[in-house]
Assembly symmetry: C2
Homo-oligomer: 405 residues x 2
């Protein structure tokens, strides 16, 4: 990632850091003893946009959110963890509607302004009665509760994920904050990720959609690769104008500063998701350059980033670059084996497809830190892509072979 | 798999079970203390055919074998384990040639009749001097050594893989035998698999190619999915006519019996490779039906068979069918979520995309044996595919994060 822009100042914060938002996270009884229900509310109806999974088994909340966001407006989002409400048939749609209706009634707003999300086990009916019964307590708890909300949306996450930034638009400052969950990722796309971002900037819905797409394509979509997604992946942004700054206009410097800010928040949340991969001990940045096209660069990086042989080698801090070559060879990208070069950090270990043994010791040392950088030059063109993946350790297997129990 | 044909009789055996073949397996010093060099030789030049990896980083032996087999003839194959001679540049080609030349000289046959294969670590130069120095001892050891050869080609394999069958052609009997290696498979295609089959049938090269393609497409290609292969995957068949049976003719019952026999040998070897997946505790058969096309059925099965969340759930014997649904949803196959049905063994746990909780206890019991059967009906058409995958346990990660050390 990560955007650098002179107008950005990174701060600690969450969805309740921008003006005009409240949030809460409580326990409603889906999980045994951990928070499992979150609510984020804007003081007034806000511009809103979302991006959702491309999985064909989309959950009821995803389908309903997409329909609601055609209006470009939302005011609240209620999220439960512990149950994904996916593959639950007609009942799943009824349950998602009931969840939105309960929040709308308690907040005194229209149901169409309430988005929903559910994350956890797939294929089990949502215990909707526990959720609706808890909504009054959830609304009563609303306040500067962004961190509580971040806790309540966790599933296998080891830590809550929050990020915020202040953006200097020149004629005023706006704040962008976010929370996210996601961890179960041998590659990230296989687990649900949910991110909610809020801002007090004034952005009309079409421009907000454009800004979100720009930010997500450089961040969440670089860890969760195209078309390879869970039933529930969801990224939402709300903009409530509460900062009092003039509305953003497409293409100017103020808009660019805003997009840089949104990309920064999304990028830090995305990187936290990679770092929180189940059993992850290191985050690996995979930068591909010299590809025949950007699409080829993304395809080549994706195959490397999702190769289990590559990921287990990184877990063992092994300089097994042959596994990177093998992954490149089976990627859909155009590859000339005799032109491939591979570097660990700044140390080139492969040139023209062949290893350079004298550099191995220096490269080996760069494999042990918790952040590792791999550069792959395909030597064919100008295409580039940078993505992030995690190593794969025994802990992942332990967590995921006993997930239901 | 697995062909049933009235003319087949399964026997214990290897590449030296058919008449007119000798083999040996010895230690040449690539590995510390285990056999690492194998030779299989026909008494006379034989018809021969091969199928190879579609990986773009193909190893030198693969490229050279393909060129040699244009002639449709071969007499010997020398195979080392411990080093894949892949991604080794021009030197790799020299080394593969030297390996073939050393065997040809010691056997007194043309170098063009000697195939080679190498399996093990990628990207390290082959210790060719140790191989060529050991060739005289290897040739001296030739005999009924199919099992020794099967041992010598192992890498992370836990056991040698051999299979044989006697085929009644009506007017005479022929024998088909085979050996294989392959294990490192989170999904099978990520590891090298090598299989060598021999027969004393008389089959002209074009028909032998056709028979091999038919057998491999129903066996090895159902565990190692299209286009998703290692640098070195190799399947070879040699036919030396030593049984004295009349040559096979395309399309008749004798040819069909032969293909059934070759498919049986290949199928049992392929299933052994799945069963020997690193850390595998169970083999899972995934049968997809009702797909819009056979290609769709294969694509849907492939996504399920390679999903780590599915494989870890099978490791834990968890009835987490939502992970199967999630995998189906991101497969490239056409899917209607409301038509999907899923069975464990003969117990349907999902109909119309929704779980049937009353059947879960019965299905749960079918998840604990070492062989598990999953049927997925997409409810869309006539397309079918059956493949085999393994569960994923902690042992896989342990083996693959310390492979070089």
């Amino acid at each position: 990632m990560i955007t650098s822009h002179p107008g950005l100042r990174v701060i600690e914060g969450t969805v309740t850091t921008p003006r005009g938002y409240r949030a809460a996270g409580i326990h409603c009884g889906i999980k045994a003893d951990r928070p499992d229900l979150a609510l984020i509310v804007a003081d007034v109806p806000a511009s809103a946009a979302g991006m959702f999974t491309t999985n064909k088994m989309r959950s009821a909340p995803v389908i309903q959110n997409e329909a609601k966001l055609v209006s470009g407006r939302a005011q609240a989002m209620i999220i439960n963890s512990g149950n994904a409400n996916a593959c639950t048939g007609p009942r799943g749609f009824d349950d998602a509607r009931a969840m939105a209706a309960a929040a709308a009634a308690a907040l005194g707003i229209a149901e169409g302004l309430v988005l929903t999300a559910s994350t956890g086990v797939i294929g089990r009916p949502l215990p909707i009665d526990r959720i609706t019964a808890a909504v009054p307590a959830l609304v009563a708890a609303l306040g500067a509760g962004g961190t509580a909300a971040a806790h309540a949306i966790m599933t296998t996450d080891a830590f809550p994920k929050t990020a915020a930034v202040v953006v200097d638009l020149g004629d005023g400052r706006v704040t962008i904050g976010g929370i996210a969950k996601g961890a179960g990722m041998i590659h990230p796309s296989m687990a649900t990720m949910i991110a909610v971002t809020t801002t007090d900037a004034a952005v009309e819905p079409p421009l907000l959609r454009q800004a979100l797409r720009a930010a997500v394509n450089r961040t969440f979509n670089c860890i969760s690769v195209d078309g390879d997604t869970s039933t529930s992946d969801t990224v939402i942004v709300m903009a409530n104008s509460a900062a009092g700054a003039a509305p953003l206009v497409a293409g100017d410097g103020r808009y660019e500063a805003f997009v840089a800010g949104l990309t920064d928040v999304a990028g830090r949340l995305a990187k936290m998701i990679v770092a929180d991969g189940e059993g992850t001990t290191r985050v690996v940045e995979v930068a591909v350059r010299g590809a025949a096209s950007d699409a080829d660069a993304r395809a080549a990086a994706n195959t490397v980033m999702t190769s289990l042989l590559v990921k287990t080698a990184f877990h063992g801090a092994e300089l097994n670059w042959g596994r990177i070559s093998g992954a490149l060879g089976r990627s859909p990208a155009r590859i000339d084996p005799d032109r491939v070069a591979i570097a660990i950090g700044d140390v080139w270990v492969v040139r023209n497809g062949v290893g350079i043994p004298e550099t191995y010791p220096a490269a080996q040392e760069l494999l042990t830190p918790s952040e590792v950088r791999v550069t792959i030059d395909l030597g064919l063109g100008q295409g580039t892509f940078t993505g992030w993946t995690s190593d794969l350790g025994e802990t992942y297997v332990k967590i995921n072979s006993g997930y239901l129990s």
